[in-house]
């Protein structure tokens, strides 16, 4: 369980730092979408998750239109899965950063917006990974372990879904294109 948590910490840390370095403006857009309405983001995320299977079928159907496409169906499916997973990870990092920004809202120690964003990301990551560390620590305790794991799983699922929905909403509204 600890290996699982440390693995996710490394993945989230690397992806988050890369996003902050190369796509901080995109991250701000997604955070802005969530700030305008969590309910909308959450609903869009749930709808997006429901559309994953029809989307995969659609990818297969579109690729099957040509002879070369039929051969490329496994690769197309793989690309689709990676795309969806990337969007979910992007959304999760944005949601984690927003939670961190909410927790450090009173702090005025950052001189630049990027510094504030980094502080928010680190705070949010510490909160989430800390929650999973606690769940991992008590994982072998008969009743408490499953309860804590279930709680952390639900919190992570809701956060990732809201972030995923915010990415979809921002993309649908063409906000990434406007910023570019």
């Amino acid at each position: 369980m600890f290996g699982f948590v440390i693995g996710w910490l490394i993945i989230i840390g690397l992806t988050g730092f890369m996003l902050l370095a190369f796509g901080a403006d995109k991250l701000q857009i997604v955070i802005g979408t969530m700030q305008k309405g969590i309910g909308k983001s959450l609903g869009s995320g749930l709808l997006g998750q429901l559309a994953i299977l029809p989307g995969a079928i659609g990818v297969c159907a579109l690729l099957a239109a040509t002879l070369i496409g039929i051969v490329l169906i496994p690769l197309g499916l793989l690309a689709f899965i990676f795309g969806v997973a990337g969007m979910a990870m992007f959304g999760f990092i944005a949601a984690v950063t927003m939670i961190g920004a909410g927790l450090t809202a009173g702090s005025k120690r950052d001189e630049t917006p990027h510094g504030a964003l980094l502080r928010s990301f680190l705070t949010g990551t510490v909160v989430f990974i800390g929650m999973w560390f606690v769940a991992a620590m008590f994982g072998r305790v008969p009743l408490l372990g499953p309860v804590l794991c279930s709680f952390a799983g639900a919190a992570t699922f809701i956060t990732a879904t809201a972030g995923f929905g915010a990415v979809l909403l921002s993309w649908w509204r063409g906000e990434f294109k406007q910023a570019a």
Binding site: G55, V59, A64, I70, I73, S150, A155, I158, A162, G174
Partner: protein
Amino acid sequence: MTDYFLEEEEFAPIAKAMKDLPYFSPSPQFADKVMARVHVPGAVQVPVVADRRAIEPAWSAPIERRSPHPVPQTNYRRSIPARLAAAALVASVGVTMTAVALVALFDVNLFVLVSRVFGQSTMTFLASLVTDTSVSVSATASNAAASAGTTAGLAAMGSFAAGAVAATAALRAAATASRKAA
């Protein structure tokens, strides 16, 4: 004389552009509100409608014809990737519904149809994908069903619901706090 014509030619596009300018009309009460504030010392009061009718019974107030207020138009055009995604989603839903209708109405064996259209290897890949997914889902469902009646199962389900509610509330609070801080 030449200068005069040149000036007129130069003025023509300006006059045309001025004609094309949008017409903004004030609210119906605007003129009355302005005139109510105008006080000219020594001026004779203009008779109101009732006074005018007393003098001339056939007179009626002219009907004010005003153009509707200009409404700001929002650009609802979606980006090209968003339109492509929407089209792909509609197409995928359409394909799924067609497949369901084919099986339900005409009793078509979908596996034989897919196998004939796309080849045996595709069919094998899809079959293995479906088998893996169904095994995973059934294992999860059986575990959940087995633990549902127990205290641990109930506690896990309750904590899942509590986690979902707490995460939603935390996200809402974080959104509000970070928006205010920004």
